[in-house]
């Protein structure tokens, strides 16, 4: 880092996340004046323009890349048109001990006086909850699934390379051509398309206005200085902001600033999940980097400093807080923007370059919570590139995570995409696959697998909420065979997935008709040519994901029930259920047997792993290919983020020996501590799942630092990764830290505020995690050498 970027980094780390009511105030005022006077898309675009035109600008003293979503770094705007915080929500956000947000008294006052009275009953969340059926509400309350879009808009997408070849004026020309081609006499949707296209055009104007205001501000600041390097820098910033995003970038600095304006535009118009991501940044920057070095306008060091300034910008953008937050749903400041490294080029060749290494060095040096980073590892990726990433991983911050670029292509070909789209696509958010710049791939919510077995053991009754939320599959005491049990489990999955999808369809239509994302539509193919919004099926590809959680817990539970109640019966199933309902009270020996002596997923044990693949196939058959409302299909993902803690919390004791309320397993990782045959056995078990049929899986591993100390250690990890990917594994992420070090941080948080660990799909400050999640990470098996 340079002295400048060291100071910018420090300022970003020290900035306190705070709630800003500015966006809510502008939006409320705009809606008060304009509601009913325009079509929905045009109204949304005009509101976006109003924000870009009026919001307080921030230009830090030493910044080279400019622009903030809020009025200052880590000042987080709110989106009352989607989800309107209550006064109580705001008080909780300000007072809760972890991941809290400073909430000024004037914010609460403004909300109480202006914002809440307007949006109560009008916010999309209020409308949504009014339209969702009772069965959905019951299953949701029982913790069968979560729903992403009740909190934030669909987003989950990534920029592709066209941004660096076209300015917004070029996009506006495309929009004008599309509008001119509308055929009102023959196309019944032409008038809707016209509104949508006009909205997109306004959205372009909004972002150009935002850049223009930054140019004006930089010019004014420069004019106030008589001379000196900062004056020249401000003049450069002004020139850059005059050029982009109206026009395509010409150099490295303009390329970064262009992306950053687009990033801010996407996350200012709506608070889409996973913010927005630059995608293959190394590939996109490579021509600018080469050209700059060749013509002498750029050096390795100036490129690095610009990139460091760019990284700080991500870290300044704390995730917007949820509403109605319960302690169980742990918060995070991370907004899941994710940078892809290496991977493949459009023609299928290796995509890594010198910028890949430059970015790895920056990730290693800066240790920022945001942006996340990942490497797309293809069989064509040179060993030296992967090993560089592994040396960064060795330092223990969980960055970058690793994806199998070849499997990612295969997964998307299975979904019916053309070959080039997945090569130029990749993974974002946590682990999900998509065609960057061409796809709306929407995560809709986590699905609680262990809960489905619990319902099967209780005839569809949820003991905790006292409601029948599942299918009536009968008294488990009457199940004669394991197949009977599995059929009941399957029936519960099918029943609850139906409820979930019914809800999803309602929510998709609400966003399609009432909450278009006009700027994101501009930069996502083929919204302009179709005249359709990103949220309404305008993208070329539209996949909707349901993320199943707890495959390890469910496998171990099925294995225990199969073995002890059916194969070598020692306990009738009815009695087994009574013991689980009583949380093993007085049944210590049985519980010990369940914990220690039954078949466990993660040990390359075919007895257990066959049940894992049986469950996976059933899930796939239940979900994959069902149509969504946008011309696309539902897909299965195996990803938990932090939801395995919440899902465990709402579940009774389970047959794998897990106590009532304890976390379930995360991702496709084994139950914490159940894997006893080392990392190769874990990888073999996990690879028995057909990853190619998913939209992403997540596997966490924990290694002791000693294992990776030497070059030989890096070679070993390299072999593990390459082999897992050869077996079609989708994703791997590592924690390189000892359990003792984590316990020390738990006991003494003030001394370890900066300890970053891998959670599941992202890294977070260990001390910001809930105690339950901290304990869960500590219990994950630590692999060491033998």
């Amino acid at each position: 880092m340079t002295a400048r970027t060291e100071r910018l980094r420090r300022a970003s780390l020290d900035a306190v996340p705070a709630i800003s009511a500015e966006r809510a105030v502008i939006t409320t005022a705009f809606y008060t004046d304009h509601l009913g006077r325009h079509s929905t898309p045009v109204l949304r675009a005009m509101n976006f323009y109003a924000i870009c035109d009026r919001k307080t600008l921030w230009m830090g003293d030493e910044e080279l890349i400019v622009g903030e979503r809020g009025p200052a770094p880590k000042a987080v705007p709110t989106y009352p048109e989607l989800t309107c915080h209550s006064v109580e929500d705001l008080r909780i956000l300000g007072a809760r001990p972890k991941t809290n947000y400073a909430v000024d008294a004037t914010v609460i006052e403004t909300y109480a006086r202006n914002v809440i009275p307007f949006w109560q009953g009008r916010s999309l969340r209020d409308q949504m909850f009014g339209e969702l059926p009772q069965a959905w509400h019951d299953a949701y309350a029982a913790g069968c699934f979560t729903e992403f879009m009740e909190q934030r808009a669909p987003g989950h997408t990534v920029a592709d390379g066209k941004l660096y070849r076209k300015g917004l004026l070029d996009f506006k020309a495309d929009i004008a051509r599309s509008e001119a081609a509308l055929d009102v006499e023959h196309d019944p949707e032409a008038l809707d398309k016209r509104e949508q296209l006009r909205a997109m055009s306004i959205a372009c104007d909004a972002v150009m206005r935002f850049a223009e205001r930054h140019a004006e501000l930089a010019e004014a600041r420069a004019a106030a200085l008589s001379h000196g390097p900062r004056k020249r820098e401000l003049e450069t910033i002004a020139n850059v902001c005059r050029r982009v995003p109206a026009h395509a970038p010409r150099d490295f600095h303009e390329a970064l600033q262009y992306y950053w304006f687009c990033h801010l535009a996407v996350i200012t118009e709506l608070n889409g999940w996973d913010a927005f991501s630059p995608g293959h940044l190394d590939q996109h920057l490579w021509p600018f980097y080469q050209r700059g070095l060749a013509d002498g306008t750029l050096t390795h060091d100036t490129a690095r400093e610009l990139l460091e300034c760019f990284f700080v910008k991500f870290n300044n953008h704390t995730a917007p807080p949820k509403v109605g937050v319960t302690a169980a749903e742990s918060g995070t400041y991370t907004d899941f923007a994710n940078i892809n490294l290496a991977g493949l080029l459009r023609d299928g060749s290796d995509g890594s370059n010198d910028v890949t290494h430059l970015l790895l060095d920056i990730i290693d040096e800066m240790h920022l919570l945001q942006p996340s980073s990942n490497m797309q590892v293809s069989r064509k990726t040179p060993d030296a590139v992967l090993k560089h990433a592994l040396r960064v991983i060795r330092n223990g911050y969980g960055f970058p995570s690793l994806f199998n670029a070849d499997a990612v292509v295969e997964e998307q070909l299975r979904q019916g995409k053309t070959l080039e789209a997945p090569r130029e696509g990749g993974c974002s958010g946590c682990v999900e696959v998509g065609a960057f710049g061409k796809e709306a791939y929407i995560l809709t919510g986590y699905f609680n697998l262990p809960k489905m077995l619990e319902l099967a053991l209780h005839d569809g009754f949820d003991v905790r909420t006292g409601t029948y939320v599942g299918a009536r599959t009968g008294d488990p005491a009457a199940f004669r065979t394991y197949d009977d049990l599995f059929a009941a489990f399957r029936a519960q999955v099918e029943h609850v997935i139906d409820i979930k999808i019914r809800g999803n369809q309602i929510i998709e239509r609400l966003y399609a008709t009432r909450m278009p994302h006009t700027f994101l539509s501009v930069i996502t193919d083929d919204c302009i040519t179709k005249g359709k919004d990103y949220n309404a099926g305008g993208a070329r590809y539209n996949n909707t994901f349901i993320q199943a959680v707890g495959i390890g817990s469910i496998t171990d539970s099925l294995a225990a029930l199969k073995e002890l109640a059916f194969d070598a019966p020692m306990l009738p199933l009815g009695r087994f259920v009574e013991i689980l309902d009583a949380d093993f009270t007085g049944e210590d020996a049985l519980r010990q047997r369940l914990l220690n002596k039954t078949h466990k997923y993660g040990n390359d044990d075919d007895y257990a792993d066959a049940l894992m693949t049986q469950t996976f196939r059933m899930l796939f058959e239940t979900i994959d290919g069902r149509p969504n409302t946008k011309g696309g299909a539902y897909r299965l993902e195996m990803l938990p983020t932090t939801c395995h803690v919440y899902f465990g919390d709402v579940c009774l004791a389970s047959a794998d020996g897990r106590g009532e309320g304890q976390p379930v397993s995360e991702g496709i990782s084994p139950v914490q501590g159940a894997d006893r045959n080392g990392p190769t056995a874990v990888l073999r078990s996990a690879a028995k799942m057909d990853h190619v049929k998913t939209g992403g899986t997540l596997l966490n591993m924990k290694f002791t630092p000693g294992l990776l100390q030497s070059d030989a250690g890096i070679d070993r990890l390299h072999s593990l990764v390459r082999t897992y990917f050869k077996l079609d594994g989708h994703h791997l992420q590592f924690n390189v830290v000892t359990a003792d070090a984590l316990r020390e941080a738990q006991a003494n948080p003030s001394a370890h505020r900066d300890l970053i660990v891998r959670v599941a799909g992202y890294s977070d400050y260990f001390c910001d995690l809930s105690a339950a999640l901290q304990d869960e990470i500590i219990r994950r098996t630590e692999h060491q050498e033998f």
Partner: protein
């Protein structure tokens, strides 16, 4: 069909030859090294032990049983019944045909890393017919094989087994025979003679020196090792294996005393000094502190 007694299959084994390996530990050893890392491997017959830290006192065993780490009169059925896994069998009778697929489960990792299967122990040659057959089967399956031996065996037995292994890991401990007898219970003469003979017929031998501070790490021993190895052909590599006190608790677990209790792990600096000393003695092959 030959059967053997093993006491463990270790996957992701990274110190017993090149790459990622699976190592099968054979039960039984003619030596009684004071610093043994696997004392449970020494007696040839399977035994039953109880890990007191895992025991939940569920009363399936009597109080008298609980006092002793090594348990008499138990069978596999008792092991199965123990809820916590505290009661364990050390030693498992297996036939080669079923062991081979178990050892090959990590084959994709072997292929990627240049690894394979290592037969270790105990001393594999205590069960030479079984081990020779096992190595032959593994080799027929196309996997890299290594034989890890203390070298204390009749030459033809060792020669025939080693002929089935792509790599021989050959332990050398102490050059002075009196000290060797005192530390291991046997003379080093057949061992050194076997190494000499082996170096003329086998193309890939890695010599391994356990570095046990105060026992094997003195300069005179290291110098003597260097002088002995220098004229031998076929020694591709030397590894200095640092003593680890992990074996100490295992001694108690199987009811034995650890004679080197409290011995520290040698420092990296010390290992580097010893490696330099071997190089100074004229050894030119790679010398590592771990493969």
């Amino acid at each position: 069909m030959t059967a053997g007694v093993i006491f463990n299959v270790q996957r992701f084994s990274v110190h017993d030859g090149p790459g990622l390996r699976s190592t099968v530990f054979m039960k039984g050893c003619p030596l009684r090294c004071a610093w043994c890392h696997n004392p449970e491997s020494q007696p040839p017959a399977p035994a039953f032990v109880r890990l007191s830290h895992r025991c939940m006192r569920c009363e399936r065993c009597s109080e008298a049983d609980l006092a002793e780490p090594v348990v008499a009169g138990r069978g596999m059925a008792d092991v199965d019944r123990c809820p916590t896994g505290a009661l364990q069998s050390v030693g498992e009778r297996v036939d080669a045909a079923t062991l081979v697929p178990r050892l090959l489960r990590d084959r994709p990792f072997f292929d990627e890393s240049g690894g394979g299967v290592t037969v270790s122990g105990g001393e594999p040659l205590m069960q030479a017919p079984f081990v020779t057959d096992l190595l032959r089967r593994l080799r027929a399956a196309g996997v890299h094989t290594a034989l890890d031996t203390c070298g204390f065996s009749p030459w033809p037995v060792l020669r025939d087994a080693a002929a089935e292994a792509d790599l021989v890991l050959f332990d050398v401990k102490l050059m002075d025979d009196t000290r060797h007898r005192a530390a291991t219970g046997v003379s080093n003469r057949p061992i050194l003679a076997n190494l000499e003979a082996m170096s003329r017929v086998h193309p890939a031998i890695w010599v391994r020196l356990p570095i046990v501070p105060g026992h094997t790490d003195d300069e005179s021993n290291i110098d003597a090792v260097g002088a002995f190895l220098r004229p031998l052909p076929g020694i591709a590599r030397i590894d200095l294996l640092p003593y680890h006190p992990t074996g100490e608790s295992k001694f108690a677990r199987v009811g034995l005393e650890c004679a080197v209790r409290g011995t520290p792990t040698p420092t990296a600096d010390r290992l580097a000094i010893l490696a330099a000393r071997l190089r100074a003695a004229g050894l030119t092959m790679p010398i590592g502190d771990h493969p």
